[in-house]
Amino acid sequence: MDAYDHRPVILGGGCVPFRRYRDGSGWRDWLVEAGRLALADAEIAPAEIDSVVVASESDFLSMQVNPAPVALDLLGLTGAAAIGVGAGGATGGAALGAGVAQIISGLARRVLVVGFEQCASGLPGHQVQLVYALSFDAMLEGAAGATSAALYALSADLYRRRHGVTERQMAAVSVKNHGAAIGNPLAHKPMSISVDDVLASPMVSTPYKRLDCSLLSDGAAAIVLAHPRYAPAAKRSRSRIAGSGAGTDHPRIGDRDDPGFFAAKAAAGRRAFEMAGIADPAAEIDVAEIYDAFTGAELQGIEALGLCAAGEAGARAADGAFGEDGALPVNLSGGLIGQGGAPGAVGVAQAIAIDRLVCGRWPKPLKREFRRGLVDAHGGVCAIAAAHVIERIDR
């Protein structure tokens, strides 16, 4: 039997709204709610979960070292197998990959992948930014004062000057993602804005303005994976994870052969596409959730994943190619810029979004159907990346 015949079915998912919670609740509350929603959506009992993968970017944010046993206790799943996963912004995606590996290897029949982060209502914003700066090379970059925005901007500077990408083209990404968030009730910042609004927002790190940046959000998301043999029958369409890949690059962008190119993402995508049997991602992927830490990073990501030719993403974004009615809708959830940035939860929430898009369960009515989507997340300035192909199972 082909090993890939064991590729996991997505039984269901649940996500709390991404936002800044002002009701005194915290990640423990959101994690419980996301898990409850996921199990209800999957239509299985907690006792049917063999293993839990717990995703959280940083103990600094949660003030909880070793969160996995605490998470299982909160979820009523103590006794199940568990691991914790941390990979910066790729944490949720890497956790999904760990869940896939457990299913395919036969270690587990059904896996709950749950991710969370408290980035908005916990530490003050400047302290969250300090923690984020430690997710690059902490000793040589973070301690030197370089912020996340500065390091991304340096990569984007090289990318932009090579390809002639303009600030207006990057701003079009923010307009698209905030606009898409209007159709997503879970989104943190649904907004109807213009390119000029983005350009007029306060400068953060040239060329990035505030509206070019992703959000600091609270959030939690959970998804249930099952080996096909252990997936209970369902009345609705389901999807499966057809491909899973990961990749890495040097953590300091200056050490890379091409600091403006996301090579880790290219490698992760290549591996996921190979597993999914995809030869031409630009033609075979219908919809994508791309890790938009910054507007330019979305463009760099689209190109690295082979979803458009090198140097063309900026012009195509400005022309609407990645909008809801475009050739390849990107970040219909709103992405990190519109839906929100809670790193442990993001990769899981992206997978839930693609699952619902390909299964016809997206909350906003769309003019067309999708069959196969891509989920992409990365950590650092794309020092580590995770990519997953999710496709509807033909009934």
Partner: protein
């Protein structure tokens, strides 16, 4: 309950600066120099130095570079130096150090501006809260 009324848990962490190879790198930075590593097999020169060649895993030899080069990427950002200080505007740069195959991150000296391609040199810095903050470049090539 408002945010101000919520009970707080204050945690102060106090990490020492690194010892070992990074300590040598930081000492060189403070002198306005940089230590690089050269791979005896492929010849790749990396700055800051790394004990292992990132391309082929070979143990490297450490060499000293003059700390002069040209700016290849630049951004003007708001940053806190030290991390618990007030936000200030900084210009962060990636510099191709002469003799190195890689780019080195640093910031321009306070009050200086430059263009892509400009010649810069590391300048000796003292009194920084963390030794990594001594990665400061100046466009004043002939001053001490």
């Amino acid at each position: 309950m408002s945010d101000a009324e919520r009970p707080r848990f204050r945690l102060a962490l106090d990490y020492p600066a690194p010892s070992g190879a990074l300590a040598e790198h930081f000492a060189a930075l403070a002198r306005g120099e940089t230590l690089a590593s050269r791979c005896p097999d492929c010849g790749r020169v990396r700055a800051p130095a790394s004990p292992i060649c990132e391309r082929d895993g070979t143990a490297t030899e450490t060499i000293r570079l003059a700390g002069r080069g040209r700016i290849e990427a630049m951004t003007r950002a708001t940053s806190r130096l030290p991390p618990d200080g007030a936000p200030t505007e900084q210009v962060f740069v990636l510099v191709r150090i002469d003799g190195a195959d890689t780019l080195m991150l640093g910031r321009l000296a306070e009050g200086e501006a430059a263009e892509i391609g400009a010649a810069v040199r590391l300048c000796a810095v003292a009194g920084e809260r963390h030794p990594a903050q001594a990665a400061v470049f100046t466009t004043r090539m002939n001053e001490n």
